[in-house]
């Protein structure tokens, strides 16, 4: 039986307004083993911690329970306080009476009763706690950045500048990401390529940065400080070391019908290709689905024209394994599929395009060489309609519930650029709200309206109908005038919602990083830890965490880099002593635990056992405590109960349940 102290926090009024803390103190005093109980307005404050330390010493406490906020918030704080007072830090239990109680209840009577029950469970558990000692693990001083867009590039540059090795894994043939597809950037209207390409070059030239383009993360094992990652380097069929990037192969390639991914399928490219002129590395890849040589065995023209002898049709995918201390996810976004939005006639008319497609149309390197023209007949449009929030802020299953955040600004940018270059073109924008929070953002939008005469209509478009004469009939409503609007347009541009890149779910699963219902990666804390994933050693950069524009992405990329640098600067990390262990006498050797272990921490050994006089060699599970992260999956999967988790034993958990059900 431990001598237990209970400390009940008011958290100002966060807890005390809903939970009668005095009554909690009086009630828990009657619990077995409780020799001390008190309350304090802010237990996490210096004075609060001093109270705990004093009680541990004076009452010779063997275990303490702090009734306060979530352990994710202050467990570490109270463990350190206990340790300073001479108590093993793992003799501290937190009863979460804030997030789990006061914040979600209104009735004081009920909330107080629940707070007592939660305290009782923690007291029951701490009776069975044991003195655990953390181990140490070394930190691999190298970081992996998944995704080579502006987020990944900036994170890598910042980490590399601090002197650590960084690898960028990019699945397409070049780094650059979405930003490389943009024409101009708001709110300054500087050319995207002009500000991005120098950064791409910096990343490629940096001695600490290593690029794995046309590569994907295949699997991840290990844990913070010690990740081991398999990277699949897809076969380029072009030798990176020999290729001079002369481009002759692309020119001569007879297969030119593949849709250009970079130009969003608006034009075609050759089977051997670099996605765009400023691609880094400037080494093409062969798309096996379009290549005549790959399909029929005949052709081989690129090999013949390549003076460097860089073409190698026999190349195979290669898997390399690298060790990392930290991993940054910077996988970015794509626009949503518009198949469900039949009313906008996107799939019917080539003159209905997404805003990202318009970026390509307006770009000098795009399918129309930068001339604003209809993709159906090449004619100059006279009337352009922009439709906002296509799939954003949507309350049905077709779209996304969130605001994509960047659309209001890029539409103002598009409208302004068109009016500037083609003053005879009328531009109309249908919007729900115009959202312009950001430095110089509202000024920018007002310029579009006031100086450039863009016609903004508050209202939604119900239908876009292609007409026999090739124009488009746009039917919408003007909410301010309360009128239905029917207007003719030559071109319709859809501000299509953005969503996390399709592969992110797979990557999140590999990293055991959590993800929300919209496939955005979840932060460790939405306000205080926005660039860290709840999984230790995994960090978030850019739109994979939530919609954001370029300046925000760059800031977050830098913040993620700082967190990585902070981690890599450490030589050793303390390991969590709450790891699993197997009872050799109970273990069946059935491998169930090994199958469910996400960390590959469980192996098997043939061990000589003495089971009440029966001596035999048995196949039993052995846990590698350096790899075990204490998730507990094995303890619930084990049919015989041989697996148990230190600090969260089956017995402790049942004791908590018993205390709650008492």
């Amino acid at each position: 039986m431990q001598r237990i102290g209970v400390f009940v926090c008011h958290c100002g009024s966060n807890i005390a307004a809903t939970v009668d803390v005095k009554r909690v103190v009086e009630t828990v005093k009657k619990e077995q083993g409780v020799v001390h109980a008190e309350d304090y307005p802010y237990m996490c404050s210096e004075a609060g911690q001093a109270l705990i330390a004093a009680a541990i010493k004076e009452k010779n406490l063997g275990g303490i329970v702090v009734c306060s906020c979530s352990p994710r918030m202050h467990e570490a704080t109270f463990r350190k306080a206990a340790e300073r007072a001479g108590l093993n830090p793992y003799m501290v239990e937190i009863a979460n009476i804030r997030e789990h109680c006061s914040w979600i209840h209104k009735d004081m009577e009920e909330a107080t009763e629940k707070a007592v029950i939660l305290a009782r469970a923690a007291i029951a558990k701490v009776h069975l706690n044991s003195h655990l000692q953390p181990g140490e693990s070394l930190v691999t001083k190298r970081a992996l950045v998944i995704g080579g867009g502006i987020a990944g590039i900036q994170t890598a540059l910042d980490i590399a500048e601090a002197g650590y090795e960084v690898d960028i894994v990019e699945k397409t043939p070049s780094i650059g990401g979405r930003m490389s597809q943009l024409d101009k950037t708001f709110p300054t209207l500087d050319c995207s390529a002009c500000i991005l390409t120098p950064k791409m070059v910096d990343a490629a030239a940096h001695e600490k940065i290593n690029l794995y383009t046309y590569s994907e993360v295949e699997s991840v094992s290990g844990f913070v400080g010690n990740f081991s990652v398999d990277i699949r380097k897809k076969a380029r069929f072009v030798d990176m070391n020999k290729c001079t990037g002369c481009g002759l192969c692309q020119e001569k390639c007879p297969s030119k019908k593949a849709k250009s991914e970079f130009n969003r399928g608006l034009n075609t490219r050759s089977a051997i290709y670099t996605p765009f002129a400023q691609a880094i590395p400037n080494v093409p890849v062969i798309d096996t689905e379009s290549c005549v040589k790959m399909k029929t065995g005949k052709c081989g023209l690129c090999e013949k024209v390549c003076q460097a002898g860089a073409i190698d049709y026999s190349q195979k995918d290669e898997i390399i394994t690298e060790k990392y201390g930290a991993i940054v996810v910077a996988t970015g976004f794509d626009t949503i599929n518009l198949d469900q939005y039949g009313e906008y006639a996107y799939n019917e008319s080539p003159d209905v395009i997404t805003s990202l497609e318009l970026e390509r149309v307006m770009n000098a390197a795009g399918p129309t060489k930068g001339h604003l023209e209809r993709l159906s007949d090449g004619k100059a449009p006279k009337e352009i309609v922009f439709i906002q929030c296509v799939g954003s802020r949507c309350d049905d299953h077709r779209g996304k519930p969130y605001c994509s955040k960047i659309c209001c600004m890029y539409t103002a940018k598009h409208a302004m650029l068109i009016r500037d270059k083609y003053p005879d073109v009328n531009v109309t924008v249908f919007y729900i709200d115009v959202r312009t929070p950001g430095k110089n953002f509202d000024e920018f939008y007002r310029r579009a309206v006031e100086e450039y005469g863009v016609n903004y209509i508050k209202g939604q478009v119900g239908k876009v109908v292609p007409q026999p004469d090739g124009s488009l009939l746009v039917q919408g409503s003007d909410l301010l005038d309360g009128k239905q609007i029917k207007m003719r347009a030559d071109m319709v541009v859809l501000a299509t919602a953005i969503e996390p890149e399709a592969g992110v779910r797979k990557i999140a699963t590999m990293l055991t990083a959590s993800i929300d219902t919209n496939n955005f990666l979840t932060e460790a804390h939405p306000k205080l830890r926005p660039v860290e994933s709840p999984t230790a050693g995994v960090f978030l950069s850019g739109v994979c965490q939530g919609p954001k524009d370029i300046p925000e992405t760059v800031s977050q990329a830098g913040a993620a880099a700082v967190k990585v640098i902070g981690l890599l600067a450490k030589d050793k990390l303390l390991t969590n002593p709450c790891t699993a262990e197997s009872d050799t006498l109970l273990c069946n050797g059935c491998s169930v635990c090994q199958n469910v272990c996400p960390y590959g921490a469980i192996g098997y050994e043939d061990k000589e056992v003495n089971d009440h006089g029966i001596r035999e060699t048995r196949r039993v599970a052995v846990v590698n405590s350096a790899l075990c992260q204490g998730c507990g999956a094995c303890t619930v999967a084990c049919p015989s109960g041989a697996m148990d988790l230190k600090g969260f034993s089956n017995r402790q958990i049942l004791a908590e349940v018993d205390a709650i059900c008492r």
């Binding site: 779910r505 006498l585 069946n588 491998s591 169930v592 469910v596 035999e616 015989s640 109960g641 017995r651």
Partner: protein, 324 residues
């Protein structure tokens, strides 16, 4: 049957195996029991008739620890259990010489009792490989006749098939006995209200005398030490003080074998109280099939079970909860 004995003798004689695991005559006409035969003479006791429902796979756990190979006779459905035990490293393939035996569906004295036949003295027509359509039964109360099908075990009406999943050789043909829907009763129970469900299981499970026959016969319940026999977990002690102790035992057991149970039906066959214990397992099998795709435990010895394999297509917990 003589064919099996002949082959067993040959394999013993040429040293392929050092013992035989089969069934021997019981004290009554309808209760043959699993037995090890250490030599040729012992095989005079060997029997393989329509009452030999016992699944011998689990006995291979002990046999795997012995010197030499054991010849084991497995019916098609027993081979699923053997594979599952192999997957869990509980039996050793190299310690087994598997003779797959044909099966024409198994019958039981319990089913005969349900058909109004008791005091059984002798049964004619219950040849394991070639039974008669109609059984002639001598009883204390005179001669009776009953259709073979009417006294067949429920599990045979929903037979998994005539193929052996693992074997070294096969003796005898199997017969198609499938004429029922395995999940019919499960759906019937699913349609009940929570109160009706509780009442149903209470009425069934309250007959339980905790003899542990279901657990001891179950090939999936192969733990060295059952949590209900251990002082480490308090499970047994908790169950003891619950007014409806049996539910804890059976529900915990069903969860422990979930994803590993091959639905061999031994639990219900051996229950002296005729509790349809297999229904718990089938409910879990039905749910797992729905959530993770069709899966038959023991169809091979490699595939990871639905609860021990994580895939991208796994159902989200929230979705599972919604579907109930």
């Amino acid at each position: 049957m003589q064919e099996l004995v002949k082959r067993a003798k040959e394999l013993l004689a040429d040293g392929t195996v050092t013992r035989v695991l089969g069934w021997k005559k019981g004290d009554l006409a309808y209760n043959p029991e699993p037995a090890f035969f250490e030599n040729e003479e012992a095989l005079s006791e060997f029997v393989y008739d329509s009452f030999c429902g016992a699944n011998l796979s689990k006995y291979m756990i002990e046999a795997s620890k012995k010197e030499g190979k054991t010849l084991v006779f497995l019916k098609p459905c027993d081979t699923y259990s053997f594979n599952q035990l192999l997957k869990e490293h509980r039996v050793l393939r190299e310690k087994a010489y598997i003779v797959g035996v044909g099966c024409a569906g198994k019958i039981s004295a319990e089913k005969m009792k349900e058909a109004g036949i008791s005091g059984i003295l002798e049964v004619e027509g219950a040849d394991a490989l070639n039974p008669s359509e109609t059984l002639k039964v001598k009883t204390l109360y005179g001669d009776k006749e009953v259709s073979y099908k009417d006294v067949m075990l429920e599990r045979c009406h929903v037979c998994k098939g005539k193929d052996h999943m693992i074997y070294d050789e096969i003796i005898g043909e199997s017969r198609d006995t499938l004429d029922g829907d395995r999940m019919e009763k499960v759906r019937e129970i699913e349609a009940m209200s929570p109160e009706e469900k509780f009442a149903f299981f209470q009425s069934e499970l309250s007959r339980c005398i905790r003899c542990n026959a279901c657990r001891n016969v179950c090939p999936a319940c192969s733990c060295r030490k059952c949590v209900f026999d251990s002082t480490k977990f308090d499970s047994a002690q908790k169950a003891n003080v619950d007014s409806f102790e049996e539910k804890m035992f059976h529900v915990i057991r069903a969860f422990h074998v979930a994803g590993r149970c091959t639905d061999c039906g031994e639990c219900s066959r051996v229950c002296p109280q005729n509790i349809p214990l297999h229904l718990f397992n089938r409910k879990l099998i039905s749910d797992m099939n729905e959530f993770y795709g069709e899966y038959q435990a023991g169809a091979d010895a490699e595939t990871k079970g639905p609860l021990t394999a994580f895939t991208q297509d796994d159902i989200e917990p929230s979705e599972a909860r919604e579907r109930g």
